[in-house]
Amino acid sequence: MKRNEFRVRPRAAPSSLIGAGFVAPALLLLVAMNLFPLIFNIYLSFTNADLSGGPVKMVGGHNYTVLFNEARYANALTVTGLFVLVSVSVELVLGFVLAMAMRDRVPGKAVILTVLLIPMMLCPVVLSLFWNLILNGNYGILNQLLALVHLPQPQWLTDDDLKLVSILFVDIWMWTPFMMLISLAGLNSIPSYIYEAAEIDRAGRWMVFRSITLPMCAPLLGLAVLLRATDALKQFDLVMAITGPNDASTQTLSARIYQVVFRDYKVGLGSAYGVVILVAVIAVATIFVRYIEMLGRRQGKAEA
């Protein structure tokens, strides 16, 4: 009998060379397509490059000075921040409420769940182009329905205050199922004996919700919030399809870059914006990874 048959630990880490061989192709592609462009971006942000070519000159920090002093920069930050904040919170609340409603045995639950989950898998651009038809001021079905029940019919696509609302509306429509899915996972992970114990202790409904359900769901919900927030930061498709890239009330950071690079042809300034976003992304990604690690540790402790 060989000694190794009884080992419980895997044998000492095999030659890293083989491992490197497995990992290398993917990493090489990622470095070429992601890391290199970022470095190149940093270089470009110090030049006055133009989209239509022509001689490229180093301009030092000029692009950054322009960027930080632009009204559109602060505007883009505000819009992006507002978008992330509102969309994620509304989706969280709605998704959680929906999950609570779907938690128990509902007839046809599997089917209902699948149907509810479809919107988040669809193409954002294609859907928002179609939402333009629904929200249209002249013949859109939404306003016609509102007229039927004698409610005011706001101009979703033209009223300045409502344009961001329209985009939020479409985003929330698409991603609430995501929050619902994760909330369900969180709710289902709470072992039933805790509820039974609470029942024995005759804890009130609200008490149960506040001190058992919510805290135990919190980690997963936190993860969901982080995931959605990072996605919402990238928001570009909906803006392009519903209002176009240069509308001050909906211009997110990505839309601003598009306007600067492809309409104003200022590649240098666009790259400076890219660098600023990069810094934000690194910060967010770090938070995200720490959070996942913490979750992993918690789960490990819970299982131990």
């Binding site: 133009d50 989209l51 239509s52 070519g53 022509g54 249209n136 001021g137 002249n138 013949y139 306003n143 019919q153 101009q155 696509l157 033209t158 009223d159 300045d160 209002t243 176009g244 240069n246 509308d247 001050a248 306007q259 492809f262 309409r263 104003d264 042809y265």
Partner: protein, 455 residues
């Protein structure tokens, strides 16, 4: 169990083969010649030369392709008109110019692009060639000025008029001729219901037809904020009321763009919005067609290029008229594009391009051009001729409009000027600012952009 590895190998092998296939395709997609790969194989023994023209996606481009096939037959050349959606036409063209060799030889560019094309060396200078290729007197002076010259008035040419266009009005002839409507109008205003000659008349007619409870509205204006829609829509009103983008000689913006006349113009433009269907404060060129086509609106403002299709779709129900006047001032926003030759294509291709443009501008060709869907000519004789004016319901109005056309800035920084204008005008229309504030701020932003502009 033994089948699973086979399946996996099959998938991997399939992926590898597909990759090789795509790589092979890439070879075909990147030919050495500055042309997008021709799908029609040359049947002539000698390889046919290929002339590539880039234009926007619309009916005139189809017309150009048909017309160009005639040229191709006589010269044994293949002409390919490549169409790009309007929304990304500008982006793609200027992005393509960033390469060492453009995929196109000719670009049918907007009049505003001339400045950028000229100063960045993207367009070939046609100053010495154009007068020899065509008798400049046969071209309508307005078309020549705006679609070919940069700087305007300098007689330096970087383009040649291809599609001439201007803004006009379409109206529901059947509503105007309806006896009940005519009677009601006569009773209310004591004159006949007819095509408006002045802006005030237009407002009166628009108000007459506005009946929201019956989902009827008076006018549809061009107010889109995406590109230059709202700027072009407003431009003709601005000039009719005595305003201008800049003073004629000094080119100073402040004092002209924010003058009391200009403020009156913007106020008037805003007042017309009252008679527009809901959502009318943000309608691009294409979107504006919808409230007219779905029988909601009496009058539609738009470029003549859209009218042939409209006439076809609503034949018998629609008529057309040129921009009304204010006092004795009448202006129509210019549209249209001109042929410009790319500097980043080979010399023989540039010569071929010149040959094509010269052929296009001949009177005989222009006579064919106006028969193509959406084809509008710059040839002054044809425009004056009765035959042309009577050929379609909109030709007469178009010919009139060419005499009163007015364009926007065509300097290299035009895009920023347009963006600033669109924003300020938009805010004024949305009621966020008074007309005076919007125009004052727009004027100061224009000044700043013009001063900062680096060629």
């Amino acid at each position: 169990m033994p089948t699973k590895p086979i399946v996996t190998f099959a998938i991997v092998a399939g992926a590898a083969c597909s990759l090789l296939f795509v790589l092979g395709c890439r070879q075909k997609e990147q030919p050495s010649e500055p042309a997008s790969g021709s799908s029609t194989a040359a049947t002539a023994p000698a390889p046919k030369k290929l002339l590539t023209i880039w234009w926007a996606q619309w009916a005139p481009a189809d017309g150009l392709q048909e017309l160009a096939n005639d040229f191709g037959r006589t010269e044994n050349v293949e002409v390919k008109v490549h169409q790009i959606p309007w929304a990304s036409f500008q982006d793609q063209v200027f992005q393509e110019f960033g390469k060492n060799q453009t995929a196109f030889d000719i670009v049918v560019g907007d009049s505003q692009w001339l400045g950028r094309g000229a100063t960045k060396g993207l367009y070939v200078d046609l100053t010495s060639w154009l007068p020899s290729a065509v008798d400049l007197k046969t071209l309508h002076p307005v078309a020549l000025k705006y679609l070919a010259e940069y700087p305007t008035g300098s007689e330096h040419y970087y383009g040649a008029p291809a599609e001439t266009d201007a803004m006009g009005w379409a109206y529901r002839k059947d509503w105007f001729e309806d006896p009940a409507e005519k009677a009601a109008f006569k009773k209310a205003f004591n004159r006949e219901l007819s095509v408006p000659q002045t802006w005030d008349e237009l407002k009166v007619v628009a108000e007459f037809f506005t009946r929201p409870d019956k989902k009827r509205y008076g006018d549809v204006l061009i107010t889109g904020r995406g590109y230059d829609d709202i700027v072009m829509g407003f431009e003709q009103v601005l000039y009719a009321f005595g305003g201008a983008w800049s003073a004629p000689k000094t080119l100073k913006v402040q004092g002209t763009l924010d003058s009391p006349d200009a403020v009156r113009a913007l106020d008037f433009f805003k007042s017309l919005l009252k008679y527009s269907p809901p959502g009318g404060s943000k309608l691009g060129y294409g979107e504006a067609l919808e409230p007219f086509v779905n029988d909601s609106t009496a009058m539609l403002m738009n470029y003549f290029a859209f009218f042939p299709d409209l006439a076809k779709k609503m034949s018998g129900k629609v008529g057309f008229f040129a921009m009304p006047k204010e006092g004795d001032r009448r202006f129509a926003s210019l549209g249209g594009q001109g042929f410009s030759i790319s500097n980043k294509t080979s010399s023989p291709q540039q010569d071929l391009a010149k040959k094509f443009i010269a052929w296009f501008l001949q009177s005989d060709t222009q006579k064919q051009w106006v028969r193509k869907p959406g084809g509008f000519t710059a040839n002054a004789e044809i425009l004056k001729s009765d035959a042309f004016r009577k050929a379609t319901p909109y030709n007469a109005a178009f010919a009139e409009s060419m005499d009163i056309a007015q364009d926007f800035w065509n300097v290299p920084a035009y895009n920023e000027l347009i963006a600033a204008s669109a924003q300020q005008l938009g805010e004024a229309l949305d009621g966020k600012k008074s007309s005076k504030d919007a125009l004052t701020q727009m004027a100061s932003e224009h000044e700043k952009i013009l001063q900062q502009a680096t060629p």
